[in-house]
């Protein structure tokens, strides 16, 4: 089973994404901020990261930059934010995000973006 780590400081959002992903058959873990996510990522690698930009302590950008600095942690990551500006998308791409979604994300939309990154055919 593919493992996905959700990084978001809002418990409601984590639960929301978790429900969608678990229903689709993924193993989901959660992290409150970038620091916690890094620790989890080093303990056992994940297949995909869902990263909220605006998290306390270490934000989504910082987390991704850190992740990308190590050759062993080149896991795909989707950035999720409430900001929809082109500038934000570019920043996310520069930090190493493979995809960018704007909150709130609809269930089918989330899965449609998650599946290709996990090497699955989107239905």
């Amino acid at each position: 089973m593919k493992r996905i780590l959700i990084i978001d400081d809002a418990a409601t959002v984590r639960l929301y994404h978790r429900q969608i992903l678990e229903k689709a058959g993924y193993l989901v873990e959660e992290a409150f901020n970038g620091l916690e996510a890094l620790e989890k990522a080093l303990q056992a690698p994940f297949d995909l990261y869902l990263v909220d930009i605006n998290t306390p302590k270490l934000d989504g950008f910082g987390f991704l930059r850190e992740l990308r600095s190590q050759p062993i942690t080149q896991t795909p990551a989707i950035m999720i934010s409430t900001m929809a500006e082109e500038r934000d998308r570019q920043q996310a791409a520069a930090a190493g995000a493979n995809d960018y979604l704007v909150k709130p994300v609809r269930p089918e939309q989330l899965l449609a973006h998650v599946r290709p990154l996990l090497g699955e055919v989107s239905t």
Binding site: A10, T12, L15, Q19, T82
Partner: protein, 898 residues
């Protein structure tokens, strides 16, 4: 409720609490960047969370708050008290919505306008205070939102000018008048969709068209259309003017996603009485009106109606006079107010458009517009009549498009486009069945690569239309009206606004947040318990194999000791889980003190100490209301105005200190103010006035005893009932509430220096230690926390003073009460062999009282259950407990009994 929503509400409450804290923190330290960032993040996250659900009202307010805080954070805007006030208001609103979601599962539509108002008020800060703000959101002007919110009858003459209303055909205006006469309320609604609305998945035309109670509507452009080449088709420049017979609640419901885009004006029906036509001035009109006015004055209305009917037959229907007469007849038929009829007649006489805004007609209008709006379900017209014409026009144009479609390569595209347009038009015209014919024609056209079949199909439609409906309105009537059931949220109208105040009940949070370590400890204990349990089958086997009874008893006792230790520890652990810090109650006081002191015009600084002190959840919850009352009293009666304080040589700002600390097995809470103190002389006078004590007693008692009289039932020292304390709750209620959880309250006060209230509460209350006593052969429990000691007194040392018993104990006189007498048991107390009485010395207020019982037994820990059902009303008992041998022990409430 689904888990996601539960999670949302629980998290939202945490956020709201932290937002309120941060807002107040920033008031004292506006430059605290970290607090500012946390505040922004909390609002931002909460907004994001609310976006997962269908709570537009909440999201809108939070979004405005977020933008505002963003501006403050980036120093485009200064943090101010007014801004904090507005944000706190907005957060109260959000909290109220949370409560409503929790209790009803959804947000009532009636909150939409308040939400829009709050959002607009927040945005107003940005527009008014910082013109430099580059990306200040396209805020709805505040006055617009206010117009939405205004629902007062004062605004009836804010009606749109007559020129606007004249755009409505006379027959529709007449129908509207009739509706108003039947009890509907009329509104003129101007809906200006957001320019970017198409990108937000909105369909303004559909929304307008589906408005319940739609009588008429038109669509205009907000500004001149640019040349075609520069036209941005995705920018919505439309403005919808709608005439509605509808209730306010229905409007709120229907437009709940876009309340800030509406301008709503209640429309007095009279404003619609506008004659149209040629030849305003006419001699016959003048003659008729003069005569008619006379008839009106003399009250001969039948004659007036007859004259009007005759005159109407004579006048050409297109004339202005005929139109005016038709209105006159309608007014007479619907028994309009006489003032209104007169005004219309005068305007006929003068050949002028009646001016209903003229002074003096307001009451006439009010009479003519029936006041109570009935929420009768309306069947909406399928289409705006004008839209119908447009649809036919578009159809006609498709003919030209098809005629030009000649280039072979582009032909299929052209054909598809034309067919799509055709289908949409037909659907809009209420003829969805005819779209099949279009499809057939399209297939034929594609097959033959010629536009002819489609053009022919179009011609047929146009021809049919010409035959059936010279007036497009007919098509409207025939259209299958999709009638959404008008949801009448009539209960919403009279509901109070978000009446949440800082001093209201704590939000109903039923989730207990527990430290991980406490759970782990409980987990370990369960493990031990499982092991201890496994020893029992082993013991059973030993008993079967014939061990001696004595040996078995020893082993069972040993095992009991093990299980007993675990049970005690588990009990302790679970009590720890139930422990809450007093900050749970204290946290709302900064807000409460801030709000109330501002309202009273006093300056107060609040000092809170010992918030980490923990006590059982029930104790903490029981503490909340009394504490609020005490602090309010301090604010209201204790602390003086700044002027008085300065005159008394004190600092202008008063001080209230709220401290909590643990002392042995009790929590002590102190509320101390440095106000004017309580004057014992004043209390004495008051108590005598109220008949609580007589004048003699008043002289005899000490000052402290006098002050304690404030706890007497029915005593209130307030000279006047103020807005704050006028709740009919006195200190006696505070005392009673605390006694329910075995708490006590004492009061100290010094005139001119201040007052201090001390509350003492048990740490926990789920498990009580009781002493079992015996009386007349029955066992009763007495809570240990009121037992001072147990003594055996020789019968000879008990004296009878007047009618009551007393004994001297350690140099003090202790009154004695036989328990049998208290319980109404007619048996004398029993003595032991040494002729001694068993006396239980218990605390009673600040004195000790001896209760004579038959015998003492052991003390034990019990779980006290309050008496419920019919026994609940039984005085004298605090509850019942199940004993180890399966019997039920009644636990006495000696405080009530003595």
């Amino acid at each position: 409720m689904n888990p996601l929503l539960t999670q949302f509400l629980s998290e939202a409450r945490d956020f709201l609490q932290s937002i309120a804290e941060k807002l107040m923190q920033l008031e004292s330290a506006p430059n605290d960047n970290e607090a500012m960032n946390e505040l922004f993040r909390a609002v931002h996250t909460l907004k994001g969370n609310s976006g997962l659900f269908d709570f537009p009202e909440m999201t809108r307010v939070l979004h405005a708050g977020e933008d505002l805080l963003d501006a403050v954070r980036e120093e485009r805007l200064a943090y101010s008290r007014a801004l904090a006030d507005q944000l706190l208001d907005a957060m109260d609103f959000v909290g109220m919505l949370c409560d409503e979601i929790e209790s009803r599962g959804a947000i009532g539509a009636q909150h939409a306008s308040v939400g829009a108002e709050l959002a607009a008020a927040l945005r107003e800060f940005m527009t008014s205070d910082s013109d430099s703000a580059p990306d200040a959101a396209p805020a709805a002007p505040a006055d617009l939102a206010r117009a939405v919110a205004s629902n007062t009858p004062d605004s009836i003459f804010l009606a749109p000018p007559a020129e606007e209303l004249l755009a409505i055909p006379e027959d529709i205006r007449r129908a509207a008048w009739q509706r108003a006469h039947d009890g509907a309320s009329l509104y003129w609604l101007c809906y200006t969709p957001d320019e970017q609305c198409f990108f937000q998945g909105e369909d303004p035309f559909f929304l307008a068209q589906q408005t319940p109670g739609l009588l008429w509507g038109r669509i205009t452009a907000r500004e001149a259309w640019p040349p075609l080449a520069e036209l941005d088709a995705y920018r919505c420049l439309l403005r919808f003017d709608l005439l509605l017979a509808i209730t306010r609640a229905e409007i709120d419901q229907h437009f709940r996603y876009v309340p800030e885009q509406l301008t709503l004006t209640p429309l007095p029906a009279l404003a619609l009485v506008l004659p149209v036509g040629d030849g305003k001035d006419s001699a016959e009109g003048e003659d008729f009106a003069s005569a008619a006015l006379h008839q009106l004055e003399t009250g001969s209305l039948d004659a007036l109606r007859h004259a009007t009917t005759v005159m109407l037959e004579l006048a050409s229907p297109q004339r202005w006079l005929a139109s005016a007469l038709r209105w006159l007849l309608l007014l007479l038929d619907t028994h309009a107010a006489r003032g209104a009829v007169r005004l219309l007649l005068e305007s006929i006489r003068d050949g002028a458009t009646p001016d209903w805004r003229q002074s003096g007609t307001a009451d006439a209008a009010a009479q003519a517009t029936p006041a109570p709006p009935h929420g009768d379900p309306d069947t909406p017209a399928a289409l705006l009549p004008r839209a119908n014409e447009v649809a036919w026009e578009i159809l006609a144009w498709q003919g030209e498009v098809l005629a030009q479609a000649s280039r072979v390569a582009a032909l299929p595209g052209h054909l598809h486009a034309a067919a799509t347009t055709l289908r949409n038009c037909l659907r809009a015209l209420g003829r969805p069945d005819d779209t099949r014919r279009v499809d057939e024609a399209l297939n034929e056209a594609l097959a033959t690569s010629s536009a002819a079949p489609l053009a022919a199909c179009l011609q047929r439609f146009l021809a049919e239309a010409g035959a059936t409906a010279a007036a497009p309105v007919a098509a409207t009537a025939a259209a299958p009206a999709s009638s959404p059931v008008a949801t009448t949220a009539s209960d919403g109208e009279g509901e109070p606004r978000f009446g949440r105040r800082a001093d209201d009940l704590l939000p109903g949070s039923r989730t207990l947040k527990v430290d991980q370590a406490k759970i782990d400890r409980l987990m370990n204990l369960i493990g031990e318990m499982v092991v201890a349990k496994n020893a029992l089958p082993y013991l059973a086997a030993r008993a079967e194999s014939g061990s001696s009874a004595r040996e078995m008893a020893r082993e069972i006792k040993a095992q009991h000791a093990v299980i007993n230790r675990i049970a005690e520890e588990m009990h302790d652990a679970i009590m720890q889980v139930r422990m809450l810090p007093v900050s749970f109650v204290f946290q709302r006081f900064p807000r409460l003190v801030r709000d109330i002191s501002r309202k009273l015009g006093k300056e107060v600084s609040l000092v809170v100490e010992g918030e980490d002190t923990e006590a059982d959840k029930n104790v903490i919850e029981a503490l909340a209301d009394p504490l609020v009352h005490i602090v309010r009293n301090s604010l209201d009666h204790g602390l003086e105005n700044p002027q008085e304080r300065i005159a008394a040589g004190k600092a202008a700002a008063g001080r209230i200190a709220l401290t909590a600390r643990q002392e042995a097995d009790r929590v002590l809470i102190e509320v101390r103010d440095d106000g004017r103190g309580i004057d014992p002389a004043h209390i004495r006078r008051k108590a005598v006035e109220k008949g609580i004590i007589d004048a003699d007693t008043a002289h005899r008692i000490s000052d402290q005893e006098a002050i304690n009289l404030v706890f007497a039932a029915g005593f209130s020292t307030a000279e006047q009932v103020s807005d704050l304390s006028g709740r009919g709750v006195g200190m006696d209620v505070v005392r009673d509430a605390l006694e329910k959880v075995s708490g006590t309250v004492t009061l100290e006060s010094e005139v001119g220096v201040g007052t201090c209230l001390r509350l003492s509460l048990p740490l926990s209350m789920a498990v009580n230690q009781v002493m079992v006593i015996e009386s007349d052969g029955q066992a009763f429990g007495v809570a240990m926390d009121c037992v001072v000691e147990t003594v055996r007194l020789p019968r000879s040392s008990v004296h009878t003073i007047k009618d009551s018993l007393a004994a001297v104990l350690r140099g003090r006189i202790v009154p004695l009460r036989p328990l049998n007498t208290l319980l109404g048991i007619e048996a004398p107390p029993l003595c032991n062999e040494a002729d001694e009485l068993a006396v239980l010395i218990v605390r009673h207020g600040s004195d000790n009282v001896g209760v004579i019982v038959d015998d003492f037994r052991q003390t034990c820990d019990v779980i006290l259950k309050p008496l419920d059902g019919i026994l609940d009303a039984l005085p004298g008992y605090s509850g019942s407990a199940l004993m180890g041998d399966g019997s039920v022990l009644l636990v006495l409430n000696l405080k009530e009994l003595i």
